[in-house]
Amino acid sequence: MNRESVEVVVIGAGAAGMAAATRMAGLGLQVVLLDEQGSPGGQIYRGITLAPLSRRDLLGPDYAHGNQLAQALASSSVRYEKGASVWQVTREHQVSYLREGRLYTLDAKAVLLATGAMERPFPITGWTLPGVMSAGAAQILLKSAGLAPSEPVVLVGCGPLLYLLGWQYLRAGVTIKALVDTTRPEDYWRARRHLFAALRAWPYLRKGLELMRSLRSAGIAHYTGAEQLAVEGGEAAQALTFSASGKAQRIDTRCVLLHQGVVPNIQFSQALRARHEWDLDQLCFRPVTDAWGELDVPDVFVAGDGAGIGGAQAAAVQGQLAALGIAARLKSIGTAERDDQARPLRVQLEANLRIRPFLDALYQPKEQNRIPADEVMVCRCEEVTAGELRSFVALGCAGPNQAKSFGRCGMGPCQGRMCGLTVTEIIAKARGVSAAEVGYYRIRPPIKPITLGELAGE
């Protein structure tokens, strides 16, 4: 095993990780940036340095913004390690990763987790059928390989990523059969109190409106306020059924793309046993940090969507704030200098986050799509339904970790990534307590896949 000591390890080369690593290197710190992917960019700017110009054009101007971050990183002294899959981070700052089948361990003075977001599960009847995918997964195929569905698709749910994918598909010539939107008129009403702040983030808002307008002008069937969503099919998806405006609808389709927002990827912060809180607006857990992104685990910081969803631009600023926090902690700069340099960043961050309350209110996922009916599969790996989970609660199961004892819920290959939030919310509702009280799965390594042979160092 290869082991060495470094000053700072940053995990994840998305917006937050790239910006943080570059800034720290500029402050004279020795930084190793570990990235699972083959090139910088993370999810939002996936493959930015590799994508052919035609694909960049197809994906839109925002995607190209990532190029600036990637270029700054490339011209910095940061040691960028691609294909580095981090499977463990300890409270003592030991970072273990796998690269080309070999094990490496870095002992760092400080660690920055910049592992971004993951898609919220969308547990509805039939969501496990072949032909049903998440919109985020479909977008990864488009970004990394230029792959798009050959079948006409139905986009289902809500949130910026769903509309962006629709817009990108239109430009890529994919047939979109319908946009089945779960957003209801009263959601606009609920979000309206945040509209003034959102208007101050006009470019962002305008971008969203343009996306929607182009989808509409392309003549795509757009249903709003869709409820009672279900995918029909025996061996594979055959149709989407739902009700909209009080009318039952059925759309024949073999490709359903689901999305209802993203949530922080808290695998590492949970495995580190950092304190987390339930975000009442975003309906997810997020780690508790100070103003610099530091967890209650000393010298471990988190920046970007992993600390709460704020989007790519906010993430890049948060990355820089964490960079300043770490630099001051490692005495590379003084606290006065840290605060000076942070001042413009905090102004910028506030501007970047202005749209967020509006989006959170408008696209809050519906309870029926988060806390499903009894027959819906919740834990896909071990095939535990919502009804079974409720029967465990009736027998005294108080939280996700006990749900494992009662019926292997969350013990399969995904280790709860696909069901964690659903399980928390189902148990909370069944017990009549808050999600915060119910808590989350205990997360253990390996956070990323590793084989016995690799672990054995063969």
Partner: protein
């Protein structure tokens, strides 16, 4: 201050692991009113997160009678609990990997036969290959126990818990015992949720039991450790029995769902205050190497989860089971040194008999809490270290 009636019982059990719950179950079957206080939730630590081995193989000779009686109860579990806890009588096989290993196995069998135990059987290389066709060809033979097997720990603990509750046992989770004291004829246990009281107190609190025993002036040389395990993704069936090794740390089994659980008393690191065991990757690496040496085809199998459970280890590798020597109406069962899961049913039943004043042929004398003081003045070797002969 008086406790409300639901805080009073005949017997209070501290610790909702397999030992506490099985003791509670057997007491409740005899009509005793039992309350279990659990600091977190039932089966949270050693009982629920161990490797699931149901093993008499390689036991310290002092443990064998109790382990054999427990084995019989495992085979009846479905009948007793209405749920078999995932028990599979797959047999257990300890592999010899060299002539020296095989000689060690032979001596072990001789020793057991001299004591009248015949549950462990010496097998040759061909018998091992017949039992586990996929094992590496360097294996030279081993020891086989046909009636051993494995179970699913959390499923077993949950089965005991539900069966106990069905018989009227009250279980209070998230209720850690803080202070225990005997006033007059009653034991009083203070918890953040108030006081509980009973005539008899049973301490089955695993790694936390030593602290409670010390409260009443009965300190035990016991220390906690975090024992590591890993479980793989699912793989096609290739190994029926549970495997151990003679000269390396290994406990290995493939569950019926295809996952492989790998352990063998691998010590990780421990954050005892946080009640948390952590994995040490270098030691895990050597465990993975043992597995890939024995089964080269598993090299590409993914590790799904690694974890560490918190367990109590005594100075002589034997548990503490039996009555207090300092106070009346107080019993213990803890310090199983990573081998307590199999003992759960038998020890619970035996301890219940002790509390009920029933006769048993199985002596608890080797497990007496005051043996450590006596050992200091006794001739050396009175308690042979289990590690020299035990299946690791």
């Amino acid at each position: 201050m008086s406790e409300s009636s639901n805080r009073q019982a005949d017997v209070l059990v501290i610790g909702g692991g397999i030992h506490g719950l099985s003791t509670a179950l057997y007491l409740a079957q005899a009509g005793v009113k039992v309350t279990v206080l659990e600091a977190e939730y039932c089966g949270r630590h050693a009982s629920g997160v161990n490797a699931g081995g149901v093993r008499t193989l390689g036991r310290h000779v002092a443990e064998i009678p109790l382990a054999l009686s427990s084995r019989d109860l495992w085979h009846e579990l479905k009948h007793t609990l209405g749920d078999d806890g995932g028990f599979v009588p797959s047999g257990q096989l300890k592999l010899a990997e060299s002539q020296a290993d095989l000689e060690e196995c032979r001596l072990r069998i001789e020793q057991l036969q001299a004591l009248g135990f015949c549950h462990e059987v010496l097998v040759d290389q061909q018998q091992v290959f017949d039992t586990v066709p996929t094992v590496s060809r360097h294996v030279t033979g081993g020891i086989w126990v046909k009636d051993d097997g494995y179970a699913v720990p959390f499923k077993t603990v949950t089965a005991f818990r539900l069966a106990a509750q069905k018989r009227g046992v009250r279980i209070h989770e998230n209720t850690p015992a803080q202070r225990i004291e005997q006033t007059g004829t009653r034991w009083r246990v203070s918890t953040p949720a108030g006081h509980f009281s009973a005539e008899h107190l049973v301490v089955t609190a695993g790694a936390w039991a030593g602290g409670l025993a010390a409260q009443i002036g009965e300190p035990v040389p016991v220390h906690p450790e975090g024992l590591m395990l890993m479980v793989t993704h699912r793989v096609a069936p290739f190994c029926v029995p549970v495997l151990g090794a003679t000269s390396r740390a290994l406990s290995f089994k493939q569950f019926s769902n295809g996952t492989v659980v790998i352990g063998g008393k691998l010590v990780g690191s421990l954050d005892f205050l946080a009640r948390h065991g952590e994995v040490e990757m270098e030691r895990l690496g050597s465990s993975a190497r043992t597995v890939t040496d024995l089964f080269p085809h598993l090299r590409h199998l993914g590790v799904n989860r690694v974890w560490a459970g918190v367990e109590a280890f005594t100075a002589d590798d034997l548990p503490v089971i039996g009555a207090s020597r300092k106070a009346s109406n107080l019993s213990y069962s803890f310090g199983f040194c990573g081998s307590g899961f199999q003992m759960g049913p038998g020890t619970g039943k035996r301890l219940a008999q002790l509390i009920l004043g029933e006769h048993s042929d199985i002596s608890l004398e080797p497990f007496a809490i005051d043996r450590f003081n006596r050992a200091a003045s006794a001739p050396p070797g009175a308690f042979q270290s289990a590690s020299t002969i035990a299946h690791p």
